[in-house]
């Protein structure tokens, strides 16, 4: 069974979407490790190491996603999980910015999949299957 670590990064307390993601991914046959809201980069990485996770799926709803996610790939490399897949979604930046620009910046930060606001988690499922070779 493939393992996915989920949680809401930074000082972000939006808890509802996180529960929906847990439900959907569990129902789709994944071992979901939910570290909840107010989670630091280290919390995600530590959980991923101990559980041998395949994907870290970061949610950010309150607009500070870019600051909160900066340096996360570097920490993964330092921690020996350099090959882990990093997904991010929610409302990752403030307001209505041009998403291709946003996406570019997150790709430079080492994220593998970046989702615009309003993307339901079901849409990400086909990417998960593809990325995990299922």
């Amino acid at each position: 069974m493939k393992t996915i670590v989920i949680g809401v990064i930074g000082a972000d307390v939006h808890a509802v979407g996180n529960k929906i993601i847990e439900y959907t991914l569990t129902k789709s046959g994944y071992n979901v490790v939910n570290i909840g809201v107010l989670s630091s980069q280290e919390d995600f990485i530590n959980a991923a190491i101990e559980t041998n996770a395949d994907i870290i799926m970061v949610s950010s709803l309150y607009g500070h996603g870019e600051i909160d996610c900066r340096g996360m790939r570097d920490k993964c490399i330092e921690s020996g999980i350099e090959n882990i897949l990093l997904y991010v979604g929610g409302n990752i930046v403030v307001g209505k910015q041009d998403f291709t620009e946003v996406k570019k910046r997150f790709i430079e930060m080492g994220f593998n999949r970046i989702y615009p606001p309003g993307t339901p988690i079901d849409e990400a499922l086909k990417d998960i299957h593809a990325d995990l070779g299922e």
């Binding site: 393992t3 307390v13 071992n31 107010l38 280290e42 530590n46 101990e50 559980t51 041998n52």
Partner: protein, 469 residues
């Protein structure tokens, strides 16, 4: 008529407590130096002779039970994967089992770490790593590394259950003394203490006490049942929870300042608030922490080590002492007993520092996160705010003329809002130094042990406004 004799073979003193179960009362307490280097029964016999002369006659005991922290106590190495997760879980299990955690290692072991296991004369290794179904590569690597290095001391495996079979094969291949139990952290942030803790106690009884020279005395006593700190933890749990119709004291904290360590115990839930989000590894209801660098003698230098030059100068000027010289004197002569008011003054001050620092490390932390709906609180560790009692034990507190001044150091005297220290507890003292003994008695006569503790663990000495809130 039924009398019980409870013995604590401590690192320095062998302490005896005799109890009369009919009267529910202490018959007498005595102590003498522990003689583990020669024959442990010598010190015991001397203490026993003192006891009989104190009572005025020889008496028979229905049962004689002992705990021990002699010959260095139970020395353990805790090995895990990530520092905040399985390493921390492994450490907590060792502490809960009454061990001293001399070595703590994360990730792949290297040769110098394995060498330390030999050099430090570790008694038992706790090997953890990986949630169930999670990382297994590291524990397998570490088990192999220990095997190849020729480790023959007991190794308790409490890591990822998915590789138990591989671990058993490694144990067999290298002829190791391996023991398998449940994962200390089966899932992220879930702490599972019981199985590994029981295994450690079992090994302690079967193998370790023999190596510590305590087996020699087995003909004279019924059994050695626990490492001393574990006996104190049992006593603390009983005193907190009560037994049958006899109520306990509720949520409590115990601070035990010794020569080599300061131990802190809290018997309470992590939080009672609904407006906090709790982070990190689950906290045990009965939690013990040990500060190996905070103590009155062996570890006195540790108290000043973390101070800056400026702080040391300030203390010297403020108190009119040479604090570095004083801690070194105590380190050089660990049997030093205060002979004058100056020595008492310094011991009092060191005791206060130990209590303050040990609580600083034991208690949880809280941070505010602002939202339009009001404040949300992010908590790590245990919230001790509502603890009803803080109980002091150990020589410096018991003998202090200003017990209040030491115990109040566990509360939030510096008004740091992020530290979840006890808010407004009552202070009690284990005046007769009976907690470890009562933890032993609790194994056979819990009600009796509880009644005696409630009778003898009482108000602090001091002036009235210190005693009553």
């Amino acid at each position: 008529m039924a009398n019980y004799l409870l013995i604590d073979f401590g690192s320095t003193f062998t302490k005896l407590v005799a109890v009369d179960s009919v009267e529910s009362e202490i018959i007498g307490t005595t102590s003498d130096f522990t003689t583990v280097e020669t024959d442990i029964s010598e010190g015991y016999q001397r203490a026993l002779a003192k006891l009989f002369s104190k009572i005025g006659k020889k008496i028979e005991f229905e049962q004689v039970i002992a705990c021990s922290s002699a010959a260095g106590g139970l020395k353990m190495a805790a090995i895990g994967l990530v520092k905040e997760l399985t390493v921390e879980a492994a450490k907590r299990v060792c502490l809960g089992a009454g061990a001293k955690v001399d070595l703590v290692f994360a990730h792949h072991l290297n040769q110098s770490e394995i060498k330390q296991i030999f050099d430090e004369k570790i008694d038992i290794i706790l090997l953890a790593g990986g949630a169930d179904g999670g990382n297994f590569e590291t524990v397998v690597f570490n088990a192999n590394a220990l095997g190849k290095a020729g480790i023959k001391i007991p190794v308790v495996y409490a890591g990822n259950k998915s590789v138990q079979d591989e671990i058993i094969e490694i144990f067999e291949k290298y002829n190791m003394d391996g023991h398998i139990c449940d994962n200390v952290m089966p899932a992220i942030n879930v702490l599972n203490i019981t199985s590994a803790k029981e295994k450690i106690r079992e090994i302690f009884l079967k193998q370790i006490i023999e190596a510590k020279g305590i087996k020699k005395i087995e003909s004279e006593i019924n059994k050695v049942v626990l490492p001393t700190p574990s006996a104190v933890l049992e006593a603390a749990k009983l005193l907190s929870e009560g037994y049958l119709e006899e109520p306990g004291l509720g949520e409590i904290v115990i601070v035990d300042i010794g020569g080599a360590t300061t131990d802190m115990y809290s018997i309470c839930s992590s939080s009672k608030r609904s407006d906090v989000i709790i982070h990190g590894l689950e906290e045990p209801f009965a939690k013990r922490t040990v500060e190996g660098d905070l103590g009155m003698r062996y570890s006195a230098p540790g108290i000043v080590k973390s101070l800056s030059e400026r702080e040391i100068n300030f203390i010297n000027k403020d108190k009119g002492v040479d604090i570095v010289n004083e801690v070194n004197r105590r380190y050089a002569n660990v049997k030093l007993l205060p002979e004058n008011t100056h020595d008492e003054f310094i011991d009092q001050f060191l005791g206060e520092m130990c209590a303050y620092r040990a609580m600083h490390r034991h208690c949880g932390r809280i941070h505010e996160v602002l939202t339009p709906m009001g404040k949300v609180f992010n908590q790590t560790g245990k919230d001790l705010s509502d603890v009803a009692y803080v109980i002091g034990t150990g020589g410096v507190i018991i003998n202090s003329k200003h017990q209040y001044q030491i115990l109040r150091q566990t509360t939030n005297i510096l008004h740091n809002p992020s530290e979840l220290r006890p808010n407004d507890p009552e202070f009690l003292v284990d005046h007769n130094y009976i907690m470890a003994a009562m933890g032993l008695l609790a194994k056979i006569k819990p009600l009796l042990a509880l009644k005696i503790m409630k009778k003898h663990i009482t108000q602090i000495r001091g002036n009235q406004n210190e005693i009553s809130k």
